[in-house]
C-alpha cells in the first residue's frame, strides 16, 4: 500500500513537471507544443547517454551508443539541459516569427517528436535502437538501501516539482509573464507596445522545453532504462490532459491536474476492487475516462479546474 502511494506520488510529481513545462508554452504564451514527449525523450536520452558506462563495462556487449561516458547523474542532467536548450533554440528561431500561426507550432513540434522517435529506433548506433539504454546506475544507489530507493526518489521528485512550481509562479507573476500572456492573446498588439514578440516567444518555448527535458533527466536514473517505447504519443496526450483539465495559464493548474488525473484517476483506480473481469475493465477504461474528461472539459470548462485569475497590482500613490 505504502509502496503504491510512493509510486503514485512519483508519477504525479513527474506529470506536474511536464505539464508545467507545457504551461509555460501553451498556458502563458499560446504556443501549442504537440511534441512535449519529444523534448522529454531528448532530455532522457542525453542524460542516459552521458550516464551509461561503455558496453564492455555494463556487460551488454552488443549495445551501441554514440557516446557512453559513465559520468554521474548531475553531469547527465546538465548535458540534457544544454542539448535541449540548443535544439529548442534552433527550432524556435526557425519557427517562431511574430506572425507564426499557432497551427505551425503544433505541426512542427509534433514532427520533431516523431522524427526524434524514428531516429532513435532506426539508427541503432545512436542509442541502441529498440532495446534502448540499459544498465544505468541509480544515483546514490550505494548509499540508499534498495528497498527504500523509491521513497528517496519520491523526495527528489517532489523537491523538483516544487522548484518548477515556484519558477512558473514567478514567471506568471512577473512583467515577463505579462508580456507572454499578451502575446498569447494578440501578438501584433504587444509588438505595437514595444515588445520583441519573437524574442519572448523563443525564450518561453526554450524555457518550457528545458522543464520538459528536466523531467526526462529525472526519469532516466529512476527507471535505469531509456527505451523508445516509454515515449509514445499517449504521453503527449496525458500531459495535455493534465494541463487543460487542471487549468492552463496559472501555476496551480498543472498541480491540481496532476493530482486529479494522474493521482486520482490513473493511479487511484488501482485501489478499486480488482477481481476477474472488473480488474481488466478498470485498466482498459482508465484511458477512456481521461480522454472523455479531456473532451468534456474542452467543451464545457476550457478554463480547467483552476481558472487563470486576474493579477492585482497595488499601485503606489503618484
Amino acid at each position: 500500500m505504502i509502496d503504491f502511494l510512493v509510486t503514485a506520488g512519483i508519477l504525479v510529481a513527474f506529470f506536474v513537471i511536464l505539464a508545467s513545462g507545457l504551461n509555460l508554452q501553451w498556458g502563458l504564451t499560446g504556443l501549442a507544443n504537440l511534441g512535449p514527449v519529444g523534448f522529454f525523450a531528448l532530455g532522457s536520452y542525453v542524460s542516459g547517454l552521458v550516464m551509461i558506462p561503455p558496453p564492455e563495462v555494463t556487460g551488454f556487449v552488443t549495445d551501441t551508443f554514440v557516446i557512453s561516458l559513465g559520468l554521474p547523474w548531475p553531469v547527465g542532467l546538465v548535458a540534457a539541459l544544454i542539448v535541449t536548450g540548443v535544439v529548442a533554440t534552433v527550432i524556435g528561431w526557425m519557427l517562431l516569427r511574430t506572425d507564426t500561426a499557432p497551427l505551425f507550432v503544433a505541426v512542427i513540434t509534433l514532427a520533431f517528436a516523431e522524427i526524434f522517435f524514428l531516429l532513435i529506433i532506426t539508427q541503432k548506433w545512436l542509442a541502441n535502437g529498440f532495446n534502448g539504454i540499459r544498465g544505468i546506475d541509480r544515483p546514490l544507489g550505494n548509499l540508499v538501501e534498495f528497498g527504500t530507493y523509491e521513497r528517496f526518489f519520491l523526495v527528489v521528485m517532489v523537491v523538483a516539482a516544487a522548484l518548477v512550481f515556484w519558477f512558473v509562479r514567478h514567471v506568471e507573476a512577473s512583467p515577463y509573464g505579462r508580456v507572454l500572456k499578451g502575446i498569447r492573446e494578440d501578438p501584433a498588439a504587444v509588438a505595437a507596445l514595444g515588445h520583441d514578440v519573437r524574442r519572448f516567444r523563443i525564450s518561453a518555448f526554450v524555457l518550457g522545453c528545458l522543464v520538459l527535458a528536466l523531467a526526462g533527466a529525472l526519469w532516466t536514473p529512476f527507471v535505469t532504462v531509456v527505451e523508445p517505447s516509454a515515449f509514445g504519443t499517449e504521453q503527449t496526450f496525458l500531459v495535455w490532459a493534465v494541463l487543460i483539465i487542471g487549468g492552463a495559464g496559472n501555476a496551480w493548474g498543472p498541480l491540481v491536474g496532476g493530482l486529479v488525473i494522474i493521482g486520482l484517476i490513473q493511479q487511484g483506480t488501482r485501489f478499486l476492487p480488482a477481481t476477474g473481469e472488473i480488474a481488466e475493465l478498470t485498466v482498459r477504461l482508465r484511458g477512456v475516462v481521461i480522454g472523455l474528461l479531456f473532451i468534456l472539459f474542452l467543451r464545457f470548462r476550457p478554463k480547467g479546474l483552476v481558472p487563470e485569475r486576474a493579477r492585482r497590482i497595488l499601485p503606489e500613490d503618484p
Binding site: H170, R178, V179, A191, A192, D196, R312, I313
Partner: protein
C-alpha cells in the same frame, strides 16, 4: 517630425500605397481621410512596421524607420492605436496599461528572479502613473477588472491611455471615433487635445469629418494609394477631386 517620401507598397498586382509623400510637423494634429480601400491603414502599417514597404523612406526626426520591426519603431517614440481596439481581454485594465509602459529592462526574467522586490517596486510606481492616466480617462474604477468587461468606447479610451504609457512623441490613430457614441466622442476629442498640450504629435485616420473638424489643423486626402491634396477642412471641402473621390456631395459631414 515625420517625413514619408515615395512610399510604395503593393500586394501582388494591387498597389495599395503608390508613392506617398507626406510631412507631419512637430505638435501638429493631422487628419488622413479617404474612401475605403484608399490605402490609409496600409500606410499606417508600413509606418509602424507591421508591413515592410517596397520602396521609399520613413523618417522620424531624421531617423530612418523603414525596415525596422514594430517593437523597434514604437520604442523610438512612434505609438499607434488600432481600428478595432487591441487591448488584451484576459488581463486587467491596469495590467494592460503596464504592458505599454514596461521596457526591455523591466520585462527581463533574469532581472526579476534576481531582484523581484526591486521589480515589484518599479511595477507599483508605474502602476501609480497608470492610475493617474486612468483617472483622466475615467477608467480608474475599472483598473482591477479584466479588460473584457469594458464597452467598445471604453476600449478605445484604454487604447489611447495605453499609448500614452509609452511616452510617445507621435501617435498614429486608426479611426478613434468609429463606433463610439456622441458623448464619448466629446471625451475622446478632449483627451486628444490634452495630448497635444503634452507635446504629442497626432496623425489620425478618420471617416467622421465632424470629429476631425474639431481637432485637426490640417487634413490630407488619400485615394487609390496616393495623397490627392491637403489643406484645412474648409479648403478640402472646396476641392473638386475630393468631392468626386470621397465626399460624393457637398452636404456630407
Amino acid at each position: 517630425m515625420l517625413v514619408l517620401e515615395g512610399l510604395r507598397k503593393s500586394f501582388g498586382g494591387l498597389v495599395a500605397v503608390d508613392g506617398v509623400d507626406l510631412r507631419v510637423l512637430e505638435g501638429e494634429i493631422v487628419g488622413l481621410i479617404g474612401p475605403n480601400g484608399a490605402g490609409k491603414t496600409t500606410l499606417f502599417n508600413c509606418v509602424t512596421g507591421g508591413l515592410r514597404p517596397d520602396a521609399g523612406s520613413i523618417r522620424l526626426r531624421e531617423e530612418e524607420l523603414a525596415g525596422l520591426r514594430p517593437h523597434q519603431i514604437s520604442r523610438r517614440g512612434l505609438a499607434r492605436s488600432f481600428q478595432i481596439p487591441r487591448t488584451i481581454q484576459r488581463m486587467t485594465v491596469l495590467e494592460n496599461m503596464l504592458l505599454g509602459a514596461e521596457d526591455r529592462r523591466d520585462t527581463s526574467l533574469t532581472r526579476f528572479l534576481v531582484d523581484s522586490r526591486g521589480a515589484r517596486r518599479r511595477e507599483r510606481r508605474m502602476a501609480g502613473e497608470a492610475m493617474g492616466l486612468l483617472e483622466e480617462f475615467g477608467l480608474d474604477h475599472l483598473a482591477q477588472e479584466f479588460a473584457s468587461v469594458l464597452s467598445g468606447g471604453q476600449h478605445k479610451l484604454l487604447g489611447l491611455a495605453q499609448a500614452l504609457m509609452m511616452h510617445p512623441s507621435i501617435l498614429l490613430l486608426d479611426e478613434p471615433a468609429a463606433g463610439v457614441n456622441p458623448t464619448l466622442i466629446g471625451e475622446i476629442v478632449d483627451r486628444l487635445l490634452d495630448m497635444r498640450e503634452r507635446g504629442i504629435t497626432l496623425l489620425i485616420i478618420e471617416h467622421n469629418l465632424r470629429f476631425l473638424e474639431r481637432i485637426a489643423e490640417r487634413v490630407m486626402v488619400m485615394a487609390q494609394g496616393t495623397i490627392l491634396t491637403s489643406g484645412t477642412m474648409e479648403e478640402i471641402r472646396q476641392h473638386q477631386d475630393v468631392l468626386d473621390a470621397y465626399l460624393g456631395h457637398p452636404a456630407v459631414g
